[in-house]
Symmetry: C2
């Protein structure tokens, strides 16, 4: 058992696991500072670097999930993500620092892969879109444009109209390998709108 | 059958396959020009972008291959590569343009993956090393440093001494998942030097 003394001298017991977690957090902060120092005075270059990295390891996706409480019975979830093996968490910390938002968590499954994710529509509009509007992507430009179009349509509440909803579903199904790997065929969604 | 008339009016027959290949080459050149125009006047930003992309999708490797004609019976092959699905060949063409050298070819195997590769030691020294010496990598910095060290040792012909050869093998086996996926264990190489 270890003790942590706070500013107000309140003594709190913390476990070995918590202690490891604090240590690991400290090391990661240090690692992030080292990386940022490599790009000191080169903010724009860091952003281009990160855009290139994301062009390889990132994804712009729009999930469409059955949800009885949502309009038409389906929830539309745009999400920006970056994946990386857990041994290189530092690059995801750089993403979090640059975008000023987002969560890092372990992906489910057997592979030790971490996921940096921004899925709040507000943050996508305020942080993700301005970033990729200012830096061209090479391999993912087309997918990004579709993602952007859907998010902006939702911002204008077009997904709450039947026509807008259908248009979003159609665009979403042309992204990322034409709907391959999705749970439902597009026709199923369009013919099961409540 | 189609005919291509050259400058000297020499008429040469070309097949449908050749014609498709010329067309596809022309389209790719056009696509490359479009990408380069996005980065017009931003050469440094393009280089950082590409470095970020390579940090995700590239590799620095040193193969050690049995070869009876080589000193100690083993050939040391440093190679810089970038992988991409064949539908995004354009990013590999950007690599080829920026490095001013390298080959793009289809990887063996069932997956439609292309490989951009620079394996000539001269080109690695003159094109690859100056590029990555001027731009910091985030996830692959450690691997790049080892790769660089081996290439520079070879440049000084240290691989032709027993001690230098052994040192190179030891460094190579600490790269890219500590020799995982290699054909021979490190000990096998070190104890089978001719």
């Amino acid at each position: 058992m270890h003790y942590l003394v706070g500013d107000n001298m309140h003594v709190q017991s913390i476990s070995r696991k918590d202690l490891n977690s604090i240590q690991s957090r400290k090391n990661m902060d240090k690692e992030l500072q080292v990386i940022l120092s490599l790009f000191k005075g080169k903010r724009k270059l860091l952003h281009y670097y990160l855009a290139g990295f994301i062009d390889g390891e990132g994804s712009f996706s729009v999930a469409i999930i059955k949800h009885p409480m949502q309009k038409f019975g389906w929830m539309i979830n745009p999400c920006f993500q970056v994946y990386q093996h857990q041994k290189h968490r530092e690059i995801l910390e750089v993403c979090k620092y640059v975008f000023g938002t987002g969560s890092i968590y372990r992906k489910s499954g057997i592979h030790p892969v971490l996921n940096f994710s921004i899925d709040s529509r507000r943050n996508i509009i305020e942080k993700v879109i301005p970033f990729f509007d200012s830096i061209p992507l090479i391999t993912k430009q087309e997918t990004y444009k579709k993602f952007r179009e859907i998010v902006m349509m939702m911002e204008k509440k077009e997904h709450l109209t039947k026509e807008g909803f259908k248009k979003i579903v159609c665009i979403a199904y042309t992204m990322n390998q034409q709907g391959k790997g999705r749970k439902h065929p597009m026709e199923y969604i369009l013919s099961n709108m409540s």
